[in-house]
Symmetry: C2
Subunit: 307 residues, 2 copies
């Protein structure tokens, strides 16, 4: 079974690993968000692609919840002592990735190609594609003004309420090479339990990707990132409350209008399945506490495909 | 007494520290070579400026002879594991400098200004100026072809004999802001014991700097980098043998024709002081084994100024 997963960062990355554990890893293609890519200290950082890579390679830091296991911070200490910018936490091992990527981009290599090289170097068999090789940047509209995604998320600690999400570059962006072919060849399309607005949204902002999902001939299943109406981590619940009017399965489903056939919701949300229309609910335990939990969630989502 | 020192990397950096110890540090301006600047992993590395900064801040690694004390190599290990370029050894602490510098240069800040910021952040009172803010790159002509300086020096281990040194950008390069004023205001000009061809040469390749030295009204003293006709480190002796025909004080002096009034030579070379013309020899012990030796050498060079 060939599966395509659209994914954002940490939560999505865990799910992606569960899917790769259940399906043969080489039959999985992950399409990663690049709307929160950011230039830090002259380096091109792709936090979501990296979270997915680290999860798939098993070198992510499970305790801290982001970045790499065994990480150290020598470079950032040096930068701090020089008065440089340290708001975005770049670890030493992590920096190796950003340096190799940035050098390749400066040399004219597309993001998708250097990502493929990094994936191979890390021994990952799953394919990871950025949604686009074009420049796509997520902006967050708040009562305090509009901010680049990482400035709002990291520097301001995503404390500002969100009124709007704008994806700069969406009109011109075309899918990275391989994305549409993978969607076309897939037996199942999955939307990872990532933030619908700032993680999955910028992927769908690439018109040709949204159109391909809308025109699908195979099931597309979203996994809700909420448990009992609350985000496991991050601001998804507050964003849904403010922008969609609530955090029930219906509100998540409405973010993917016309794009999904089923939605996996947590047992804690199973009592409120009204208003899903023709989107079929799949109730499961969605908290990915360990490898077994990840795999069970992946299997639940894949249950949408007729055997 | 106001002193200007033209300096290359490690050896020059030690001498510069000796000068700053002897003169009030704020009365010393160092003009550093940028011909061996190099782009590594998308970062702008200025090895000579950094060697001088580290020496002046007392954070250089005396045992290894280059880079920073207490250095670690986590980033480069990560880069290596990803198949990235590792021929140029960038330590973690060192990388902090390159990141801050590169970001500033990308933002349009001149090299001289970000250098000044780094110097201040490191608590250095001596002024350090790059010879130029313009792009200047040293190329090494060898029987095996012409190579960028660092490719010849580091990647090929400076094993190739050198037939010619070419400084790309010399015609257009203008001195960094402050260089000519410092030379004009100086009571003494010093050429550090650096390689005449690839360390001091590219500074003098900036025409306005060479012209200012040629038109000097104060003494200019070079310190020979050779001891008993041999380089303490590096290829200066082999280069002099091949390109100047020998390694006596005369051959070093001829590299600075019309630009110096005296040359400090090691006791081991005092028996061969023929052919210096009107350049006065100053015999001293030139091996900078410790702080005392550095200061004595600086004092010997400064003895050229009438009290």
């Amino acid at each position: 079974m060939r599966v395509v997963v659209l994914s954002g960062g940490v939560g999505g990355a865990r799910f992606v690993r569960g899917v790769a554990d259940v399906v043969a890893p080489e039959d999985v293609t992950v399409v990663g968000n690049v709307g929160d890519d950011v230039n830090v200290l002259s380096l091109h950082v792709s936090p979501d692609l990296d979270s997915i890579m680290y999860a798939l390679a098993g070198i992510n830091d499970d305790e801290r919840g982001w970045g790499r296991a065994g990480e150290t911070w020598r470079v950032l200490e040096s930068v701090a002592s020089l008065g440089g910018e340290t708001w975005f936490k770049l670890g030493d091992l992590d920096l190796g990735v950003h340096l190799v990527r940035t050098q390749a981009l400066h040399a004219g290599e597309p993001l998708s190609r250097v990502t493929a090289r990094l994936v191979t170097a890390l021994g990952i068999e799953t394919r990871l594609l950025p949604a686009t090789d074009d420049r796509l940047r997520t902006w967050i509209g708040t009562p305090a003004g509009e901010f680049p995604f990482q400035e709002w998320f990291v520097a301001r600690g995503h404390r500002d309420e969100v009124d709007a999400v704008r994806v700069e570059g969406d009109e011109a962006a075309t899918p990275a090479s391989g994305v549409l072919d993978a969607i076309d060849a897939a037996d199942l399309l999955l939307l990872a339990p990532s933030n619908p607005y700032v993680s999955i949204g910028p992927i769908l902002a690439v018109h040709a990707i949204r159109d391909a999902l809308a025109a699908r001939r195979v099931p597309c299943v979203a996994v809700s990132p909420l448990i009992a109406g609350r985000a496991v981590k991050g601001p998804a619940d507050r964003m849904l409350t403010r922008m969609a009017g609530g955090t029930s399965p219906r509100h998540v489903t409405e973010c993917y209008q016309g794009l999904i056939d089923a939605i996996v919701v947590d047992e804690a949300d199973a009592s409120d399945l009204d208003g899903l229309g023709d989107v079929r609910p799949i109730v499961a335990r969605t908290l990915m506490v360990d490898g077994d939990a990840r795999r069970r969630l992946a299997e639940a989502a894949m249950g949408a495909v007729p055997a």
